[in-house]
Symmetry: C2
Subunit: 109 residues, 2 copies
DNA sequence: TTTATATATTGCAATATTACGATAAATATA
DNA sequence: TATATTTATCGTAATATTGCAATATATAAA
């Protein structure tokens, strides 16, 4: 035990949970906000910006990337990370469907 | 180590991460979808609906509730769980701000 | 080629999450 | 009061996450 039982849920439910999990950490939210804020998505600055050690940031970037929320391009010694819009569009659509259903349903409690 | 360093992030970042974390599990997404789908948010049926044991469901319900995503009202021996719309509105607003910023920014990679 | 810089990986310790059996608590009904 | 039903809690095992020091890797510049 201890591992999530993904087998029993739909692909859509699992896909959404993977995206949300990738975002569900303040450091990763801060990274996304930083990538939005900065012009040109210069990257290694994230380490200077956030109060975490370089390996920790690297790990968070890896998680964001493997979920498809960001992309990384090599630029010399540096790496340019930026938002991967396709995935964000998918996330937005899925969540908006959920939000809409909730709005249209009057709660009973 | 092992614990998230919430101190170093803003209240907004921490608040969002708590809400996303509560949703970031396929079973909890399935619970929310079930509560949306069913008329009158009858509750204990969730245990019959999902492929998880009763204590596990109870634990997931507790997490959803402590994040404020659902509410529980006692109805005889049963408990009526349903969506807590206030929190969902807050989540929707915060995420839409993020989505909007991402749409308006052209990615560089 | 050597050195400096930027990022990733490894290894590990601390903590959190997931899941469930056993059991407790609370209430309705007989 | 005794019994059945519903939900919560406890205890525990398995696994995942978080964070960092040490180190590796890769590329640019000297």
């Amino acid at each position: 035990m201890g591992a999530t039982k993904t087998d029993h849920f739909t692909d859509k439910q699992n896909d959404l949970s993977v995206l949300l999990k990738a975002l569900a950490h303040p450091a990763r939210i801060a990274i996304i906000e930083y990538l939005i804020k900065t012009e040109g998505c210069i990257c290694g600055d994230i380490v200077n910006e956030l109060p975490l050690a370089q390996p920790t940031i690297s790990q968070h970037l890896k998680e964001l990337r493997s979920a498809g929320l960001i992309q990384g391009n090599i630029e010399g010694t540096a790496i340019c990370y930026c938002i991967d819009e396709k995935t964000w569009t998918r996330l937005q659509k899925t969540l908006n469907q959920l939000f809409e259903k909730i709005e249209n349903k009057k709660s009973c409690c």
